[in-house]
């Protein structure tokens, strides 16, 4: 178990050793986003911009225009919400080589409450042209995604979380931007998960297995560009899809998969996620239960859809 933000902090500090061009910006949350690890090692390449996210993103764009590879970090709600137009105009429109790595996404921010829980950031970033959107599932994938983002030329949004999550990948895992991965074969139904919900989908598949239902599990880290092939194959081969994300059911993974399947392979589908509402204060685990993001909720959705099939 490791929080993706911790994996990010370590990976970034390591990347800093390998590449002098990497610079890091934060908006007074470096202790929380874990960019503080990079800051400690490379103080001359770290810029704390204070509580001013719009300026942070614009400054990152300027650093990129002069040849640097900036990583700009803060909580997802501020990186995407407060600084949205700077992300659009100063980063995405010119295709600036800026990496926006946002932590504390989704409801598992917990106690800070709905004001700090971004449930719509995937939808917003996905709608912006030129933007690549990555939501890693665990620490291992986070480290690989951060490296891949640094090597990729262009704007990237990486969505990370606050709390420890189970490790589902091992050292043999090869991460590639734009590629989904089948974690478990299955023939009756497919769970498509992203971020921390992929681990929940794996548990749900186990629960279904005990009842004789064969569930495939696909992990989609890159929400944009979407790996259409792996999703279409799952739709054709299992005929039923349940998407799972710690995000609104509007416009995120569920939205992206629905759009794809509606056009290319209409399939019975259910979206598990936050049902068009804001978050609440509470412990992360309590909130996952409250908002219906546990394995049993996925099992329930699967059974509903299988009953219709």
């Amino acid at each position: 178990m490791i929080a993706t933000r911790d994996a990010y902090g370590e990976a970034l500090a390591k990347l800093g050793e390998e590449n002098d061009n990497i610079v890091v910006l934060d908006a007074d949350l470096s202790g929380s986003t874990k960019t503080s690890l990079f800051a400690k090692k490379f103080p001359e390449r770290f810029f704390n911009m204070g509580i001013a996210e719009a300026n942070m993103i614009g400054t990152a764009a300027g650093l990129a225009a002069a040849g640097k590879i900036p990583f700009a970090s803060t909580f997802a709600i501020f990186a995407v919400g407060r600084a949205w137009e700077q992300v659009r105009q100063s980063v995405a429109y010119p295709k600036a080589n800026v990496k926006i790595v946002a932590t504390h996404s989704g409801i598992t921010v917990g106690e800070d409450g709905g004001s700090h829980q971004s449930v719509e950031d995937i939808a917003i970033m996905r709608a912006v042209p030129n933007m690549t959107v990555i939501v890693p599932a665990d620490g291992i994938e986070t480290a690989l995604a951060v490296k891949a983002a640094a090597d990729f030329k262009g704007p990237v949004y990486v969505r990370l979380g606050r709390n420890k999550v189970p490790t589902i990948f091992d050292d043999t895992y090869k991460f590639e931007i734009g590629k989904g991965v089948m974690l478990r074969p299955g023939t009756d139904i497919t769970f498509i998960g992203t971020g921390l919900m992929t681990a929940q989908a794996l548990v749900a598949a186990d629960l279904l297995q005990a009842e004789g239902i064969s569930a495939r599990v696909i992990h989609i880290a890159t929400i944009k560009p979407l790996d259409e092939e792996i999703i279409l194959a799952a739709a054709r081969e299992t005929g039923a899809i349940v998407t799972a994300e710690e995000h609104s059911i509007i416009g995120g993974l569920g939205g992206a998969v629905s759009e794809l399947l509606s056009e290319k392979c209409p399939t019975k589908l259910k979206r598990v996620g936050i049902k068009d509402r804001f978050g609440l204060s509470g412990k992360g685990d309590e909130l996952l239960k409250y908002f219906g993001l546990l394995p049993e909720n996925l099992v329930e959705a699967a059974k509903e859809i299988l009953a219709e099939k």
């Binding site: 810029f47 204070g50 001013a52 719009a54 764009a61 225009a65 002069a66 640097k68 010119p94 600036a96």
Partner: protein
């Protein structure tokens, strides 16, 4: 010095003519602010900045950011005249298929460093470039031109805080203070004065000049280069529509282009005869 000033004045006059002709052709674009800023732009491109039109990405170049991106025609005519792209391209300003977008776009136009035009964002990008140049131990400088109305955007003040906090002495901010914005006088829409005092309070070295007096512009830019440990902000008092008497100081010419009827009169004001030559 006097010879330099005279040459630059002549160039600025030529570029004003180019702006008028370009905007008359495109029938869309921002006339007033392009004319108010052109003396600053001319002095930068033809006197102060180190740049190479044959190699727009030359590492040793100074960087220019037109944060008030709606004055793009002023930058475009200078870039074309310098040879960054053929002058014929100006005829395609704002047309489908042209690299000359309504607001500066670094993806398509040689010599444009970043995308600007959504007001308030250019100074942050200029700061980023200045930080990068300092990390690279480059002696290149960054010049950012802002509008006075643009100072109403909160991000500008975030960026000013950061420029002073990081002691960006390789950054020179220029405010094209023409006193007008779309809805009228800046002072009446949302007063931003006293600009020099505010910039000083943030930590800038402030120089206030007549933004149409080339020798004052040169002196201010020279002085800016000698200041260490803080950015310099040149508050250039200008006249919107400068050079075409019936455009001057009129907010209504913010986003309006010269009509067929106005074109010859505008060129006349700029000392052009009917055949397009200099009188």
């Amino acid at each position: 010095m006097n010879e330099t000033v005279a040459t630059l004045q002549k160039k600025a006059r030529k570029l004003r003519v180019d702006i008028i002709k370009t905007l008359h052709r495109s029938k869309s674009g921002h006339t007033g602010g392009s004319l108010s800023v052109i003396d600053l732009v001319t002095t930068l491109y033809y006197h102060k900045m180190r740049h190479n039109p044959a190699d727009p990405k030359w590492a040793g170049r100074d960087r220019f950011v037109l944060s008030k991106g709606h004055a793009a025609p002023a930058q475009y005519v200078a870039l074309a005249d310098c040879g960054y792209f053929p002058a014929e391209d100006l005829g395609m300003l704002r047309q489908l298929g042209s690299h000359l977008q309504g607001h500066p776009d670094s993806k398509g136009t040689p010599g444009v460093e970043v995308c600007t035009g959504s007001l308030g964002q250019g100074l942050s990008m200029a700061n980023g470039m200045a930080l990068a140049l300092r990390l690279d131990k480059s002696n290149s400088r960054v010049y950012a031109i802002l509008g006075d109305g643009e100072l109403q955007e909160g991000q500008i003040w975030e960026a000013l805080m950061a420029a002073c906090h990081y002691r960006l002495d390789n950054l020179c901010i220029m405010i094209d203070a023409n006193g007008l914005q779309i809805d009228g006088e800046v002072a009446k829409v949302m007063n931003v004065e006293p600009i020099p005092e505010k910039l000083r309070a943030f930590g800038c070295n402030v120089i206030e000049i007549d933004g149409h007096d080339i020798s004052q512009i040169i002196s201010a830019l020279d002085a800016a280069e000698t200041v260490k440990g803080q950015p310099t902000a040149i508050v250039a008092r200008t006249v919107k529509g400068k050079g075409v008497s019936f455009f001057e100081n009129k907010a209504s010419y913010h986003g309006v282009t010269p009509s067929d009827e106005e074109l010859p009169r505008a060129l006349e004001c700029l000392g052009e005869d009917c055949n397009g030559g200099e009188k």
